[in-house]
Structures are given as structure tokens and as C-alpha cells.
């Protein structure tokens, strides 16, 4: 394999994994942007979604791709529930309080699944999506490719929703200036409810798609949540294209650093670049919406 192919392959790997990061990040970014809450439980929602896919597969024989709409709907309601029963009380609380609350949620979800499902590694075997496309010596895993595709579709849908619908505009307005939005008759509580629903539904999609090529394990969320934080901050919180940019950038940095320098230090590059961006461009590369 010569260098050109290698670089191409690394770019493809970076974009594919970056798509997953972007999909995880976009939900986080939405909640972060609109409510100024960093959802530390985000990774655990991801894990829960992967588990739901696994449950549908193992008990009903539904492939994750088929059960995807189901998972999305379930997670929409889980998002509503989170806002209604927990976060609603914390809307104007200091940052630390919301961090602690989402962290507590994270512990409860993570170890709830741990207690129920035991710490076994599970993989959905023989999903619809498997194998790879091989173009000369470059290989593109199909599951990841479809995930990227679904990520793109999700983000286009989300973007259009935010851009062209009344509720979407209200969400953006609330993110930009909560009080003014209120003064124009926006029911902010309802907007928060929708935001949580959408944010968690996005991570639901990510989790469901992840289950087609990653193992399902109660503690798997921890690995993804830090990367998602970095992606969101890199892109600038509260913007869909920011999350896409952040996710892809981090995927590429990780793959290039890992392949050409040292796999052990690949996350050092990610976090290093991230800190540099924070220092020199504290609001990330894209603003709010």
C-alpha cells in the first residue's frame, strides 16, 4: 500500500468515525446551546440506546436498522422525561449544579444497566450491515458508511427543522436570547422539552447505529462522552454544523495522529488541539446556530 492509498484510507477512517462522533455531539450541542447544560449523562444515553437495539435484536430478532425508528421514538420520550422530571427544576441553576445532576443521572443509568444486564460484552451478530467495500486497496466498512449516511440525513433533517419550522426557529431564538424569546410569547419550558427530546433522540440514533459495529457494554458511554465534549466545544456549542465540523475534525485528528505518530497518544492530539482552540478561539469555530 503506498502512501497515497494510506492517506486516503486514513481520511476515510477519520471521516467515518468522525460521523459517529458528530452524531453523538449534535445532541449534546443542542442541549448545551439551548439550555446551557452540559449533559454528562450523554454517553450513558448512548449506551442505553445501544442496549435497546440489542434488546430488540435478541428478543424480537429486529435488526438495529429496522428497530431504529422505534429506538428514536423511545429516546424522544426518554428525553422528554429527563427534562420533565429532573432538569426542569434546574433551569436557572448554576453550572455546577447542572453538572452534578447530569453526573448523578449518568451514574444511575450506567449502573442501572449494569445491575440488570451484568457486565458482559455483547455484540449484535450478523446484522444487515456488515462487510466492507473494497476499492483497490482501500476498504470502507459498510456499517460505518451507513452510519455516516444516517448521521448526514439526521443532521440535514435537524438543520431543516431548526431553520425552516416555527418550533425550530423558536428553539434557535431561545438559544440566542431566552428572555427575548419569552417576550415574544415562546413557551420556553415547552422549547426545553423539545430540545431534550431531540437531543436525546439524536444520541439514540447514534447508539442504535453504533450497536451495529461496536460492542454493547454498560460502561461503553464513558469512552465516547469525552470525545463528544471535545467535538462540541471545537465546533462551538449550539450549532449543528459546528458539531459536524467538530466531530469530523476530531475523527481526522485522531486517525492521523494514531496512524502516523502513535496510537497510544492519539487522544493526546485530540485534546491538545482542542485546548489550543479553546485558548485561541474560545467560542469554537462556529457560533450559536
Amino acid at each position: 500500500m503506498d502512501l497515497v492509498y494510506l492517506i486516503l484510507q486514513v481520511i476515510i477512517n477519520g471521516i467515518l468515525i468522525g460521523g459517529v462522533y458528530a452524531l453523538i455531539a449534535v445532541g449534546l450541542s443542542l442541549i448545551w446551546g439551548v439550555m446551557e447544560i452540559v449533559n454528562f449523562a450523554h454517553g450513558d444515553y448512548l449506551m442505553a440506546a445501544a442496549f435497546f437495539s440489542f434488546i430488540f435484536w435478541s428478543y424480537m430478532g429486529l435488526d438495529p436498522l429496522i428497530s431504529l425508528p422505534l429506538v428514536v421514538v423511545i429516546f424522544l420520550f426518554i428525553g422528554f422525561g429527563t427534562q420533565k422530571f429532573v432538569m426542569k427544576r434546574l433551569i436557572d441553576s448554576p453550572t455546577l449544579i447542572t453538572i452534578a445532576a447530569t453526573f448523578a443521572l449518568s451514574l444511575i443509568i450506567r449502573y442501572g444497566f449494569f445491575v440488570v444486564f451484568k457486565p458482559d460484552y455483547r455484540v449484535i451478530r450478523d446484522p444487515l450491515l456488515q462487510g466492507s467495500l473494497h476499492i483497490s486497496s482501500i476498504s470502507i466498512p459498510i456499517a460505518k458508511m451507513v452510519t455516516l449516511l444516517i448521521a448526514i440525513i439526521t443532521m440535514i433533517l435537524l438543520f431543516s427543522f431548526l431553520k425552516y419550522t416555527k418550533k425550530g426557529r423558536a428553539i434557535r431564538a431561545t438559544a440566542q436570547d431566552r428572555e427575548v424569546a419569552k417576550s415574544l410569547g415562546v413557551n420556553v419550558e415547552q422549547i426545553f422539552l423539545i430540545t431534550w427530546g431531540l437531543g436525546i433522540a439524536c444520541v439514540g440514533i447514534a447508539g442504535a447505529m453504533l450497536s451495529t459495529f461496536y460492542y454493547v457494554f454498560p460502561l461503553m458511554g464513558v469512552t465516547f462522552v469525552l470525545i463528544a465534549f471535545a467535538s462540541v466545544t471545537l465546533g462551538g456549542f449550539g450549532s449543528v454544523h459546528g458539531a459536524i465540523f467538530g466531530g469530523l475534525a476530531i475523527g481526522l485528528i485522531q486517525q492521523f495522529g494514531g496512524t502516523f505518530v502513535s496510537p497510544a497518544l492519539k487522544d493526546v492530539f485530540v485534546f491538545g488541539v482542542f485546548i489550543l482552540v479553546l485558548i485561541f478561539k474560545p467560542k469554537g469555530f462556529f457560533g450559536k446556530y
Partner: protein, 328 residues
């Protein structure tokens, strides 16, 4: 006059508690496990006070305190291993290095607001952890085992827990007094005003950057100090155990539980939560389950939702009610 009497009463209470703490080990000679839990409580009192300063008073949510803790532990241990230097010197070198790192890091990222600062500190802590995991010079993933020296004051090494108990007690008291002093000083007032409204504080002419840095550096010092002593106590350090982000997270939960930005909060939080965690780990964790973490999560959630000022405020309210009852 009345105020004075209250102070007097409070002082007496503290004194009685201190006596109890000093005499406690005499009854626990055959219960090293309880002593161990006490030591861990003291460790977390100190670490939580350190976090309280930067997070509770100055309002900067730092997830990097465990890194300073590890810097302290690694510095003194490296000096002990390679130069056979007493940890007493290593302790100060560790504090100095941690202070420098805190200064440089703080200088770069303390202007970030809220979540951004929090996430930046997480990233920095992860970088340091990954670098240490791959740095052969400091033992990489092997970690460092402290060379067993003759038990002595010079090497800060004993085979019994008793001296450790007193040392950690001393550190916990020192850090609490330090926070108390800061709380009552002008700097404490500045910290609080920065936390409430940073721009406002700036307008009032407070050098917010300087004071945030000050809080960050002092916080790092305390962490490094505890780190050195902890390494002497546990005798083995590795990046995965002493650079675990759970250390910082635990500090935050303790402070939140006890009461944010109060002197008594971290003490209360550590005294309640650490033994509780030990207890649930032994009683519930043994079942091969994660119930203890779930309970932990539920407690924090309840505190955050219904009593964000922490347990300390509940106690204060109780005291007021009791006083009211006594009066009437």
C-alpha cells in the same frame, strides 16, 4: 456579646471534636480498617477543601485537581527513588511544580467561562494522564512502587497507620483553617464576588484574573501536598489510579453534598459520603452489583434537586429551629 458567646460555644465544640479525633486512634489500634477509612476521609476533606476554594468560592469548575494531586505524588516519589531524597523536600518540590503548572494552565484557560473551563480542564487532565501512561521515565503504566525504607519520620514511612492518621488529620485541619482564613479575608470576598458576577467584579476594580489564578494555585498546592503524603501512605502509584478523574469528581460531589462555598461543607460531605461509599461497597458491592453507585447517584440527585445548598444548610436550619424551640 451574644455573638461572642456563640463563637465561644462553637470554639468549644470544635475543641471537643478535636480531642475526640486525637484520642480516637487509641481505641482503634486493633481496627486498622476503620483507621484507613478515617485517613481516606481526611484525604478527601483536604482535597475537597482545595476544590472548594477554586470551585465553591471562586466558582471555576475544575476537573484537574487530581492531576495536581498526581503531580505531588509523582514528584516526591521520583525524588525518593532516584535521588533518595526525603519526601519532606519532595513535598515542597511537588507543591512548587504543581503551583507552576496551575499557574501556566490557569493563565491560559481561566478566562474561559463556565462549561468551557470545565471541559478544558478535563481535556488537560486526560492529556497528562495519557502522557504519563506512555512515559517510560516515570514508570508508564507500570506505575511506581515506593522503595520500602526503614520506618522513620525522615522517610515519612511507617508500618503502622497511626502516624499517617495524625499526619492526614493535621493536613485536613490545616487546609480547613486555610479555607476558613481565606473565607474571612478580603480575598474570600473577592472570590465570592467573582463567582456571583465576574464582569461586575471586574467593574468594581477587582483584578479577577489574579484572584482566580490565586485560588487555582493555592488549590493545586493543597492537592499536591495531599498527593505526596498519599503516595507515602499507599506506597504504589500509577496513572490509572491516581490520575483517575473520579478523584476530582468525588471532591465535587463531596463539596456539593456538604455545602458549596462554606468551610464546613467539605468536612461534612467527606465525613458522610466517604464512609457511606465504603459501607455500601462492602455491604452491597459484594453482591457483584453496582447498587452502591446507584445509591450514590440518587443521593446526589436528591441533594441537587431539593437542597442545592447542601447538607450544611439543612443542619443550620435544624439548629435554628431547635434554638427557636428552646427559646419558646
Amino acid at each position: 456579646m451574644k455573638n461572642g458567646m456563640n463563637f465561644f460555644k462553637k470554639g468549644k465544640w470544635l475543641f471537643l471534636i478535636l480531642i475526640a479525633l486525637l484520642l480516637l486512634p487509641n481505641f482503634l489500634k486493633d481496627e486498622p480498617y476503620v483507621l484507613h477509612v478515617c485517613i481516606i476521609v481526611f484525604v478527601y476533606v483536604s482535597l475537597a477543601q482545595a476544590w472548594n476554594l477554586i470551585g465553591g468560592y471562586a466558582g471555576q469548575i475544575s476537573f484537574v485537581n487530581h492531576t495536581f494531586f498526581a503531580i505531588g505524588a509523582y514528584t516526591s516519589t521520583m525524588l525518593l527513588i532516584y535521588l533518595n531524597l526525603t519526601p519532606w523536600i519532595g513535598l515542597f518540590v511537588g507543591m512548587a511544580i504543581a503551583g507552576c503548572v496551575a499557574y501556566v494552565l490557569g493563565f491560559q484557560i481561566l478566562h474561559l467561562k463556565g462549561h468551557y473551563f470545565a471541559v478544558a480542564t478535563i481535556a488537560f487532565a486526560e492529556i497528562v494522564k495519557l502522557l504519563f501512561l506512555n512515559w517510560r521515565g516515570v514508570g508508564a503504566a507500570y506505575g511506581l512502587s515506593l522503595p520500602l525504607k526503614m520506618p522513620s519520620f525522615y522517610y515519612l514511612m511507617w508500618s503502622s497507620k497511626l502516624p499517617y492518621y495524625y499526619i492526614f488529620l493535621l493536613v485536613a485541619i490545616i487546609s480547613t483553617i486555610l479555607i476558613y482564613t481565606i473565607d474571612k479575608s478580603k480575598a474570600g470576598m473577592y472570590f465570592r464576588s467573582i463567582k456571583q458576577d465576574e464582569d461586575g467584579a471586574k467593574h468594581k476594580g477587582i483584578d479577577t484574573r489574579y484572584y482566580k489564578l490565586l485560588a487555582f494555585v493555592i488549590s493545586a498546592w493543597i492537592c499536591a501536598l495531599v498527593g505526596t503524603l498519599y503516595a507515602q501512605y499507599i506506597l504504589y502509584i500509577c496513572p490509572r489510579s491516581c490520575m483517575d478523574i473520579m478523584i476530582s469528581t468525588k471532591c465535587i460531589l463531596i463539596v456539593l453534598f456538604g455545602g458549596l462555598g462554606t468551610v464546613a461543607g467539605p468536612v461534612l460531605g467527606a465525613v458522610i459520603l466517604i464512609p457511606l461509599a465504603e459501607y455500601t461497597r462492602i455491604k452491597l458491592g459484594g453482591g457483584g452489583q453496582g447498587w452502591d453507585y446507584i445509591i450514590y447517584g440518587l443521593i446526589i440527585l436528591v441533594i441537587v434537586l431539593y437542597q442545592p445548598q447542601g447538607v450544611y444548610s439543612i443542619l443550620r436550619r435544624c439548629k435554628k429551629n431547635v434554638q427557636k424551640m428552646l427559646r419558646s
